[in-house]
């Protein structure tokens, strides 16, 4: 084992973990402010300038709230499930490249925590494991709303995960790799069409996959208009109905971290990630991710919630066949491109 490399990578990962936690706190602030503006309100503005201290005030408040465990809950599972959701959510960011290698104190510091060759598969797998936090929490609560919310959520997440996974196959065909590093490298080449030179971002060559990925990602993170699991008009709060205090906030935070990770992933896979002129790559990545995060809030402010049968029908009857169609078409074009047809 190369201990120095392990330590450096771990240090980068540790910093990344903390940055993500901070970003997630401010994502709640960002969402409340933007949502308020869209609804002609002001939003939180009393705690600090522009209400910037609001996330900290919320955190302290939640920390000081009673942690209620219902009498007929499955105690151990009830206590551990939110931790599972929370602990796994930020790890997807470990495979996303944040920039070129940094040289500091005579050390080579890669701005990428773990350069594994199945990076995208790893992120999808983490999403699948995240479902356990939801279903275990809902089941252990001993509450009908929780159980129904958890089942709905699980069915929704696995259905859209399929679409998410299949929509990316087109990208893999073009890049010839599952590694995010390779996918980025492919996108940094120039795409020349006649006299026009464009960046080879996959949003241009895979527009259908991009649309499918975006829709599936919103559903995968249980966000409006796909926030059925927590439809407050019918299921109270869905799978975390019985949770209170900081354990409730773990579910809440996991949702926001997932949003950030998915936004980073979408930016890396389809918008060229760190690719951009003038400033360091990390700013471009941040800008592109911020665009997706704003899109999330925009959706929530604009669209009403789907009905559950519409939601499942959309995944299986529309998006899944479209994803397969995209793979077939991409394959055909690629065959023609490499001269095998």
């Amino acid at each position: 084992m190369d201990w120095q490399r392990l330590l450096v990578s771990y240090a980068v990962g540790f910093v990344l973990l903390n940055v993500l936690l901070g970003l997630m706190a401010y994502m709640t602030w960002f969402e409340r402010r933007v949502l308020a503006r869209m609804q002609h309100r002001v939003g939180p503005n009393r705690t600090g300038p522009f209400g910037l201290l609001q996330p900290i005030a919320d955190g302290v408040k939640l920390l000081a709230k009673e942690d209620i465990v219902p009498a007929n809950a499955d105690r151990l599972v009830f206590l551990v499930a939110p931790l599972l959701s929370f602990a796994l959510a930020p790890l997807g960011a470990a495979v996303i490249p944040f920039g070129e290698t940094l040289h500091l104190f005579g050390l080579e510091i890669p701005l990428l925590v773990a350069d594994i060759n199945v990076a995208v598969l790893y992120v999808l797998a983490l999403g699948s494991i995240g479902v356990y936090g939801i279903i275990l929490g809902g089941y252990a609560s001993g509450n009908r709303y929780s159980l129904l919310g958890a089942l709905r959520s699980t069915a929704q997440v696995i259905s859209y995960e399929l679409v998410l996974g299949l929509s990316l196959v087109g990208v893999f065909i073009l890049a010839g790799s599952l590694s995010l590093q390779d996918i980025l490298r492919e996108q940094q080449r120039a795409l020349v069409i006649g006299s026009l030179t464009l960046p080879n971002w996959y949003i241009l060559s895979q527009p259908l996959a991009f649309a499918l990925f975006l829709i599936a990602a919103v559903a995968e993170t249980n966000r409006a208009p796909f926030d059925l699991p927590e439809a407050e008009t019918e299921l109270v709060a869905g799978y975390f109905t019985e949770y209170s205090g900081f354990r409730f906030s773990f579910y809440f935070l996991a949702e926001y971290i997932n949003m950030i990770v998915v936004s980073l992933l979408a930016a890396t896979l389809f918008l060229g990630g760190i690719d951009g002129p003038f400033v360091d790559g990390v700013w471009w990545l941040a800008l592109k991710a911020l665009f997706f995060l704003f899109f999330y809030v925009w959706l929530r402010a604009t669209l009403p919630r789907f009905r559950y049968d519409q939601l499942m029908g959309l995944a299986w009857k529309v998006l899944l066949p479209l994803a397969l169609l995209n793979i077939g078409l991409t394959g055909l074009v690629r065959l023609w491109g490499i001269g095998a047809l």
Binding site: D67, I68, W316
Partner: protein, 119 residues
């Protein structure tokens, strides 16, 4: 590309779990703990519950899970094919088309049988 990358991920899993547990522990010293029988009842919008909470569940969820397993395996099989696409070329494309085609017939069958309807 080595075990180091996975070791780092393992360490990070440990770190984030410890961080979460530490937050819960920290709260233990500041939060109140006053359970009452009424507070520990499951929340049912104010109505006392009459049935056991983990009652019967519609089998549709089970069907969705089953379909998911079939198609997720398909997706996993398509990944290596997509990565080696340029090497396998036309031969691989036809094979993948047959593979997806068979599953597509399965999906159409499910569709016609009404397994994808929710009412």
């Amino acid at each position: 590309m080595s075990l180091i990358e996975y070791a780092v991920i393992g360490l990070l899993v440990l770190t984030s779990t410890v961080m979460g547990a530490a937050l819960i522990l920290l709260g233990h010293f500041v939060r109140p703990r006053k359970p009452t029988p009424a507070k520990l009842q499951p929340y049912e919008s104010g109505i006392p519950d009459v049935q056991p909470p983990r009652g019967r569940i519609t089998p549709r969820f089970y069907l969705v899970a089953l379909l998911f397993v079939v198609f997720d395996v398909e997706a996993i099989f398509l990944y290596p094919w997509a990565v080696a696409f340029d090497v396998l070329a036309l031969y691989g494309y036809i094979q993948a088309a047959l593979f997806v085609g068979i599953l597509l017939i399965g999906l159409l069958y499910e569709w016609r049988k009404g397994a994808l309807e929710w009412v």
